[in-house]
């Protein structure tokens, strides 16, 4: 087995997060009740990790015996996570203080969730994907219920946990089926076998042999472990001794497994029809946590999604692509249409996030290079604009969780012109109005869809984003064209302002120089 120094160097962003997390825990244990210190240390950790990720953009390597793949892809996502993580921390400070819940645990949980996310994005093995998802999800469950005394927060956490566990079960089942049919959980190995499996051809001997025991050995485990770990039956299933009829079965099982893996990930990105949890959870969770969930967690799930679609499946499969396209279309339609009738801004943003999951999925469904690049761009753009919107919501939210209705934003432009302008900017970007970031995100993924001969998907996308303009602009109309009493209670935290400014800057920057 063994690991090399390069393993650690390659994963520097990840290990920085781990170390920061541990340090914050220790600090909190040593001297309880100093959240300011945790705040600063976590922020520094995120920034350092982000910088290391920027430095690692150039190197392409695998580490830990092929379990992780590091390079521009994983580091790009690591940057996104560090950015959203640090922005979440900035937003949370004044919000938590206002609610009397300013505790270090918030930062610990955000750090741990970010670790899971980085794992997901750099995974080169289904097991690592699973590990990352669990690390992230468990942290997020707790974050959702962070306001222990609030019923809404509790409800949100419990719902998220129950449904999340449910979906994770299917994900794991899917992984098991993939392993059973392809004989490995490693992306590179599965990638070699996927074409044959999907055509329902019997596996060539060489592939199977390369596939099962060898790969595990290559991964560095000693023979004894292999033998102890793998029951005979599994070995036999992977053996080339399959009769012709059963070879077709392996292909079906492989696809079924993929289907379940997609279900599990679709739950995490809140794509229809696995989206039902999102509005309730987003509504109940503390607003900065919601922002983090809606952006970073979604980005992470897409990171895993793209890895699986491109690194594991690789060759385009009509069945899977069409399936993803259908899910994408359903998400876009459902999310955008229901969002129209929402009066609570957090629920509205939740439905909007479902719709945006649909847009991004159409990039994956396209299964071409443009799609991959489009999704990556979209993830970054979406993170900036949505986090910015949630930051502003967090400023305006009051003690009893009131003032979340969109009508409550009436007259905001008169009282706080800068905040209103920033929110308007994010809304315009979400609606996809050029030259803001949201427009190019949509443009890239739709372009990818058109190139992949999925023009219908692009049409659905453009039409639904047309619908979406209605509810995004309603916020702008209410802020600017209606008289009202919207006002911020108390002082606006400096750190939140910084976070909003960064988001706004990035939304414009990504739009003008994509």
């Amino acid at each position: 087995m063994g690991f090399q120094i390069s393993d650690i160097a390659n994963n520097a962003p990840l290990f920085t997060l781990v170390a920061t997390g541990l340090v914050v825990i220790l600090l909190e244990s040593a001297k309880s009740g100093k959240p300011n210190v945790s705040f600063i240390v976590s922020l520094a950790g995120f920034i350092l990790s982000g910088l290391l990720a920027v430095g690692g953009l150039k190197t392409e390597d695998v580490s830990f015996g092929g379990m992780l793949m590091n390079g521009s892809y994983s580091n790009f996502f690591a940057i996104v996570f560090c950015l959203t993580g640090s922005l979440t921390i900035l937003i949370s400070k004044s919000y938590l203080e206002r609610f009397g819940q300013f505790r270090s645990e918030f930062y610990i949980l955000v750090l741990f969730a970010a670790m899971g996310m980085v794992l997901m994005a750099s995974a080169n093995d289904l097991i690592i994907i699973f590990l990352g998802i669990e690390l992230m999800s468990v942290s997020l469950y707790v974050l959702a219920g962070f306001f222990r005394t609030q019923d809404r927060s509790n409800e949100s956490a419990l719902k998220y946990f129950l449904l999340g566990a449910f979906a994770t079960g299917f994900l794991l089942y899917g992984i098991a089926l993939v392993y059973g049919s392809a004989g490995s959980t490693n992306f590179s190995v599965i990638h070699n076998q996927a074409p044959a499996l999907m055509k329902n051809q019997p596996l060539p001997d060489s592939v199977v042999q390369a596939g099962l025991p060898d790969s595990v050995v290559q991964a560095g485990l000693p023979d004894s472990v292999v033998q102890a770990g793998l029951p005979d039956s599994v070995v036999q299933a992977g053996d080339s001794g399959l009769p012709a009829g059963q070879a077709g079965l392996a292909g079906t099982i492989f696809l079924l497994g993929l289907g379940l893996v997609i279900v599990g990930l679709a739950f995490k990105v809140a794509a229809a029809p696995f989206h039902m949890w999102a509005p309730d959870v987003y509504d109940g969770a503390p607003t900065p946590a919601t922002g983090f969930m809606a952006t970073a967690a979604k980005a992470a799930a897409f990171g895993a999604f793209v890895s699986i679609a491109f690194k594991m499946i690789g060759s385009t499969s009509g069945t899977i692509s069409n399936l993803l396209a259908v899910i994408a279309a359903a998400s876009m339609i459902l999310g955008n249409v229901i969002a129209i009738s929402q009066s609570n801004i957090k629920r509205m943003l939740a439905y909007s996030s479902i719709a945006h999951a649909g847009y991004m999925l159409s990039g994956i469904a396209a299964a071409n290079v443009e799609g991959q690049a489009g999704v990556m761009y979209y993830v970054a753009a979406y993170a900036c604009m949505t986090l910015g919107a949630f930051a502003i919501v967090s400023i305006l939210e009051r003690d009893d969780a009131a003032n979340l209705s969109i009508d409550g934003y009436a007259g905001l432009s008169a009282k706080h012109p800068v905040i209103a302008a920033a929110l308007a900017l994010f809304m315009f970007s979400l609606a996809g109005i050029p030259p803001l970031a949201g427009f190019f995100g949509k443009y890239y993924v739709f372009l990818a869809a058109v190139k992949a001969d999925m023009t219908w998907l692009a049409i659905v996308g453009v039409l639904t984003s047309l619908i979406s303009a209605y509810y995004y602009l309603r916020v702008v109309v209410v802020m600017y064209f209606k008289e009202g009493e919207a006002a911020v209670e108390g002082r606006i935290g400096m750190s939140t302002v910084v976070a909003i400014a960064v988001c706004a800057y990035l939304v414009v920057q990504l739009g003008v120089y994509p």
Partner: protein, 653 residues
């Protein structure tokens, strides 16, 4: 000088930034007004200098492109990589458009200083106007479709902001469902209808990129020239682009937003909804003339939609009583003429009409603004009359504009409209039928424009003297009126057939299209002259009829209205298009979202479970209970349903 072209665009942007950022602090309206109009004025001067310089060089050297910076480039590095620059193309067509936009824009800015005096949103108004000019210049000067689209969306946004400028005011949407609604909603309507058009543009753009692998005009158009006539993909591209054009230029069936857009301040109506923005669709079709030339089907569609719009809008204009509504429908109708010109491949004639229309329609709107100003926000022409003696300057200029609109011989509107009609008769896709529709609409145009003049300025004074003392507008308002009046009168002279240079000036831009159409110069000078006489007669007859009816025998109009009651109702209600849209599209979407998904699902299932659990059960229990009995299960059921769907999909693939 051409290298300074980006400055053209930069000045209004600077004006916008100044007014937008510092405006709310500066209380000095003079300074704001000077910065706002000055920036546009500078652009106009620069555009004129470039224009003069272009006159001096030979034809082939007139088209140039200036790249500012590379805007978008895909980071995939794949073979079909995609890039677009912020680059401006100066050629005969775009410089002409830039001159119109900055010239008319400058006059309207000056006018607004007087019109908006004392408004608390003065700085906001000028910031928006400058932003609009900036976006509009991007639209016309862009050298690729993406930048054009940016401008396209930008002008839409400004239009939305400016329509809803007086967001707290109510206005009357007219027709039988008359009732007041907030101007903010008119803005929303404009924006949403425009988004439908934008969808067309975007799809067209995507198709162009997929087909030609580029979005630069140069490469797209030069690649297009080698394609054969009637290639299906070109038909699709042009039809999608035309959907975009109908949205922006208010053509049937997307014309509904423009009349409502009159809720905005009058200078806005003049600048955006008459002179410049609404002509963007015409400009776009002209810019893509080569693509349209290769798609005969699309040309025919354009011509038919244009003719129909010209006719229907003119008939609606006959019965409206709101001074701005009449002008709005007149604008829709005149835009119809321009599309008719595009459809029959008379591109220069269309652009010519675009120019003269910008002069006289801006004039009419500004004149109506002066009237409304004088009448203290009264817009109903039935409550006016006899204003001639109170507003002498406004009256004279307004009549000049109306004469030009009606096509009074030798005024600007006469030449441009006549040329379109002549081409509709004899041009590529022309037919006597198109000519007939156009000529009838021209008669209606003459009639309604003089109905408007007569009811407003002549006859008895039908307003309350005790409360209203109409007075002439200040100099900042009437000076632009006079300048525009002069332009309306003489502006046509640059485009007199066989004499002037405008046609030949634009020739290089449209030559590729003309070659494709194998269009030859139509002979028959005598016939053309005859048509001019016919057009002139039609205009004179319409004017005469309107004067006769409304000056001498007002009862005739009422008699006709009651005799053709159904027809009158149909026109008064604008062919019930709004009602139709409401019934077919708006209500089902809003209601469907409301009832089915929200009330049906969210309220019934989720809230039902919540309310169902007894109120006095303690809260923790209610949370737990909900999870065990109601909600989460239904969520899980949905997930299972989804999983079943996925698995079935795979098994049955």
């Amino acid at each position: 000088m051409i290298t300074f072209a980006p400055l053209l665009v930069l000045f209004p942007l600077l004006g916008f930034l100044f007014n937008g950022v510092f405006g709310w602090k500066i209380k000095n309206e003079k300074l704001l007004g000077i910065v706002g109009s000055g920036s546009v004025g500078l652009s106009f001067i620069l555009a004129s200098v470039i224009f003069v310089q272009m006159l001096g060089v030979e034809e082939s050297a007139r088209k140039q492109s200036v790249e500012v910076f590379t805007w978008v480039s895909t980071f995939t590095g794949s073979s079909s990589s995609f890039s677009a620059s912020v680059a401006y193309q100066i050629d005969q067509l775009s410089i002409l458009m830039a001159l119109i936009v900055t010239g008319v824009g400058f006059l309207i800015h000056v006018y607004s200083i007087g019109y908006m005096r004392g408004d608390p949103g003065f700085w906001r108004f000028f910031a928006y106007l400058n932003l609009f000019i900036f976006a509009m210049l991007n639209l016309v000067l862009a050298d690729n479709f993406l930048l054009m689209f940016l401008g396209w969306e930008g002008v839409g946004l400004c239009s939305y902001l400016l329509i809803g400028f007086w967001y707290d005011r109510k206005f009357d949407i007219g027709g039988e469902e008359a009732g007041s609604t907030y101007t903010g909603h008119a803005g929303m309507k404009a924006f949403i209808v425009n988004r439908i058009g934008d969808f067309g543009f975007l799809m067209g753009m995507l198709l162009i990129f997929v087909t030609f692998g580029s979005l630069r005009y140069d490469s797209v158009f030069s690649n297009a020239t080698i394609m054969s006539v009637g290639t299906p993909v070109l038909t699709w591209i042009t039809l999608f682009l035309f959907v975009g054009a109908t949205g922006k230029s208010a053509q049937i069936p997307l014309h509904v937003w423009l009349p409502d857009a009159m809720a905005g301040p009058t200078p806005v109506s003049a600048l955006i909804h008459a002179a410049t923005m609404v002509t963007a669709g015409v400009y776009m079709v002209a810019r893509c003339s080569i693509l349209f030339a290769l798609a005969p089907t699309s040309m025919l569609v354009v011509a038919i939609i244009g003719a129909l719009t010209a006719f229907c809008a003119a008939t609606i204009g006959l019965v409206q009583n709101d001074i701005k509504k009449v002008l709005a429908y007149s604008t829709v109708s005149q835009l119809g003429y321009m599309f008719l010109a595009m459809g029959v491949a008379a591109f220069s004639a269309g652009i010519f009409h675009l120019m003269t229309h910008a002069f006289f329609k801006a004039l009419l709107f500004l004149g109506s603004g002066a009237v409304i100003h004088a009448m203290h926000e009264e817009q109903d022409i039935q409550k006016m009359g006899g204003l001639k003696k109170y507003l002498p300057i406004t009256h004279k200029t307004f009549v000049a504009g109306a004469l030009a609109l009606a096509g009074f011989p030798l005024l600007s509107g006469f030449f441009s409209k006549d040329e379109i009609l002549w081409n509709a008769f004899i041009g590529e896709h022309g037919s006597p039928l198109l000519w007939l529709i156009g000529a009838t609409a021209a008669a209606f145009t003459a009639f309604y424009s003089f109905r408007l003049v007569t009811l407003t300025f002549d006859g008895k004074e039908r307003f309350d003297h005790h409360h209203l003392h109409p007075h002439e507008a200040p100099a900042t308002m009437y000076v632009p009126l006079v300048i525009l009046a002069v332009l309306s009168v003489v502006g046509g002279l640059v485009g007199i057939p066989h004499v002037s240079q405008l046609e030949h000036w634009l020739d290089p831009v449209f030559d590729p299209a003309k070659i494709k159409l194998m269009q030859t110069e139509h002979e028959g000078f005598g016939l053309e002259l005859l048509f001019m006489v016919v057009s002139g007669t039609i205009a004179l007859a319409g004017i005469w009829a309107a004067r006769k009816v409304y000056l001498e025998r007002p009862e005739v109009a009422e008699q006709y209205a009651s005799r053709f009651k159904k027809l009158y109702r149909l026109l008064w209600n604008k062919y019930f298009v709004d009602e139709g849209y409401n019934a077919v599209a708006v209500r089902p979407i809003v209601k469907g979202s409301d009832f089915l998904l929200w009330k049906g699902f969210d309220v019934a299932v989720i809230d039902g479970a919540l309310d169902g659990s007894a109120a006095f059960v303690n809260k923790i229990a209610s949370v737990l209970r909900k999870i065990q009995t109601g909600v989460a299960q239904s969520y899980a059921t949905a997930i299972v349903g989804g999983i079943l769907f996925v698995l079935t999909w795979i098994v049955l693939r």
